[in-house]
């Protein structure tokens, strides 16, 4: 009798658990599907391949998580990534600076983009979407002007230390994965375990209430944009080290996936907030889909169309999941 009475609540909690972890079920299904389509999908080499390929999208995704947690959006993360890559490569090639200085200069390049965003959004009160869209176009145009139309700037004789950012390893672990792991931990501590993180979420959820409560909302938002720009630049450093060149406008390719990963991740959160573990899951899911579709040997253009459809479906699913809970 008592067991019968508790049944509905059991069903209820089961449904709630599915709503929260439903996306993990989708991830599981995708893994099984790709493994059936091509058994080498699950080979260790391929899994390492997926993870190391996910490093740059993950870094951009972390930057986006911070900005979305503030209730804003940053369409210019790709520009920050490109600036990071361009500043570092030009510093190395034309000025022969040591590698660590090049890293600092690259990060300064991304920070510059963040500062412009912060100025536009905080000082001039432009909506984050339109403001960063403007910066996106200006940044793209500046890269075209600088490279005389978008040709890459390559530098084959990179210092080994810089090259190692992308291809080196430390005790057998690829350095790029270590960099990403450090950023994940840093962002997790910032957003989920620090006083500043609480304030960031407060601004994102109720900006006016946060202001009334005495938080320096403008300064917090500005910090978010600047920090996001600097972070995205780290992705640019790895990208430029990997190819030993700066490829203009390459950063924009990461924008959509970063936004998608953040929203997929938010749908898995108790309160639907952007969060670091969720973004990590989202990025890995998207990287897995891209890799799985590649292994299926599909036509390049078909792959593009399919990944677009999967993106829409994954986002729609995560929004439905989130709504079912609230």
């Amino acid at each position: 009798m008592s067991r019968l009475a508790s049944l509905p609540s059991l069903v209820g909690s089961g449904r709630a658990a599915f709503a929260r972890h439903g996306f993990l079920a989708v991830v599981g299904l995708a893994i099984v599907g790709f493994a059936v389509a091509n058994p080498s999908f699950l080979s260790l080499a391929n899994l390492v391949n997926i993870v190391s390929g996910a490093v740059i999208p993950l870094i951009v995704g972390l930057a986006m998580t911070l900005v979305v947690a503030l209730g804003a959006i940053d369409l210019s993360v790709g520009v920050a990534l490109d600036f990071g890559s361009a500043f570092a490569i030009v510093a190395l090639k034309d000025y022969g600076v040591p590698w660590y200085l090049a890293v600092a200069i690259g990060i300064a390049g991304g920070t510059l983009v963040g500062v412009v965003n912060a100025l536009v959004v905080v000082r001039f009160r432009v909506s984050a979407f339109l403001g960063t869209l403007g910066v996106f176009f200006i940044g793209g145009s500046l890269q075209r002007i600088f490279t005389n139309g978008g040709g890459p700037i390559s530098f084959r004789r990179l210092p080994t230390e810089y090259y190692d950012l992308a291809v080196g390893d430390l005790y057998g672990i690829p350095i790029r994965i270590l960099i990403a792991a450090a950023l994940v931990v840093g962002y997790f501590l910032l957003l989920e375990r620090s006083a500043l993180g609480r304030k960031i979420h407060a601004v994102g959820q109720q900006s006016r209430a946060a202001r009334v409560a005495g938080l320096p909302v403008g300064a917090i938002v500005a910090f978010g944009f600047v920090c996001a720009g600097a972070t995205a630049a780290v992705g640019g450093l790895i990208a430029s080290a990997n190819l030993r060149m700066f490829t203009p406008l390459a950063g924009n390719a990461y924008l959509m996936d970063a936004i998608a990963a953040v929203f997929i991740g938010a749908s898995m959160h108790r309160d639907g907030r952007p969060n670091v573990p969720g973004t990590l899951t989202g990025v890995l899911f998207l990287a897995m889909v891209a890799n799985g579709l590649n292994l299926m040997g599909l036509d390049f253009n078909l792959k593009d169309a399919l990944s677009g459809v999967i993106l829409v479906a994954a986002l729609a699913f995560s929004v439905i999941q989130h709504r079912r809970r609230t």
């Binding site: 804003a72 909506s127 979407f129 200006i138 002007i145 169309a305």
Partner: protein
């Protein structure tokens, strides 16, 4: 901000600030007129208008969504996928005409069906599934662009179909046919939004969703309709995109998106209440086109135009934000 300023002075400064985008534009046009002798010729003006057509039609489609969803870009109505819908529809029409021997009418119908289906997809994502329009259309536009690449194998398709050529070169009473067709479309859209009961209700839904719902309007239906209409305008624009480019070219979606967003939100600067309007979007498209041609005719490097347009977006929206702040 300015506690000491008199209310009258504040209103005046608001008026000045919100006129900044227009003043910047007029200054640029005057500069072109002075520097490039042929810039103010009728032939150049016709060219400016003709080049503005695709952006104008897309901007009109986008303005339906913005008017019905409210002009808060993140939470309100925005449809970033209109240009990619046009590119998808153009790809289908071009592919059918060039490689499948389909008749003109059937090919255009196929393209239109894809555009309407795309609009429907956006409407479902936003009103049924509950995604924010920004996220929904950003994601769906990647799918639409993916499909258009699939259709054309990411290659350029040249067209010499009579319909496309007529739309490009045909004239009626000395005026370009494409221009007349686009003007007719825009006039119909203005009548629908600004002169009809349906349009008034659409504006009510966008202006204050809660109040509109309390007054008995089915807000969701209006929002869904606005996305469908945007899809239809995307399909219509595809014909003009094909005519302007004499075929389908991959990779034009991003430029179209930039110009469409710029034209639509710039258009808000013309309206007395600084809100997005259909006619404002069309006018904005003409200004953007004048700017592109003007920069070309004074010999400015083409790579700079993105910089200038991005800068203009910032000036326009910053001026609007500053004006709003000083008004309240």
């Amino acid at each position: 901000m300015s506690a000491l300023a008199t209310p009258g002075g504040r209103a005046l400064s608001a008026a000045v600030v919100s006129a900044v985008p227009l003043l910047v534009f007029l200054a640029l046009l005057a500069y072109f007129g002075a520097r490039a002798p042929g810039f103010l010729d009728p032939a150049t003006l016709i060219l400016i208008l003709k080049q503005a057509i695709p952006t104008a039609v897309l901007g009109v489609g986008l303005s339906f969504v913005v008017i019905g969803g409210g002009d808060d870009v993140v939470a309100g109505g925005i449809d970033l996928s209109v240009p990619s819908i046009a590119v998808l529809s153009a790809a289908i029409i071009a592919d059918q005409l060039a490689f499948h021997g389909t008749g003109t009418l059937a090919a255009v119908l196929l393209g239109f069906m894809a555009a309407v289906a795309a609009g429907l997809c956006n409407a479902v994502l936003v009103t049924r599934i509950g995604m924010t329009p920004l996220l929904a259309t950003l994601a769906s536009s990647t799918a639409f662009i993916g499909f258009s690449k699939l259709v054309t194998a990411n290659r350029r398709i040249d067209l010499s179909d009579p319909l496309i050529v007529t739309l490009r070169d045909g004239t009626v009473a000395g005026l370009p046919l494409g221009l007349l067709a686009a003007t007719a479309l825009i006039v119909i859209a203005i009548a629908a939004v600004h002169r009809s009961r349906w349009g008034l209700r659409l504006q009510a839904v966008g202006g204050n969703r809660d109040a509109a719902v309390i007054a008995g309007l089915d807000a969701r239906r209006f929002v869904a309709q606005s996305f469908l209409i945007a899809g239809v305008f995307g399909g219509l624009a595809s014909l003009f995109v094909l005519a302007r480019g004499s075929g389908s070219t991959p990779g034009v979606a991003e430029t179209l998106l930039m110009e469409t967003v710029l034209a639509t939100f710039l258009g808000a600067a013309f309206s007395p209440r600084r809100v997005v309007t259909v006619w404002g979007a069309a006018l904005g498209a003409i200004l953007v086109s004048a700017l592109s041609i003007g920069f070309g005719s004074v010999g400015v490097d083409v790579f700079w135009t993105g910089c200038v347009k991005g800068g203009l977006i910032l000036v326009v929206v910053a001026a609007a934000a500053v004006a709003r702040r000083s008004r309240t």
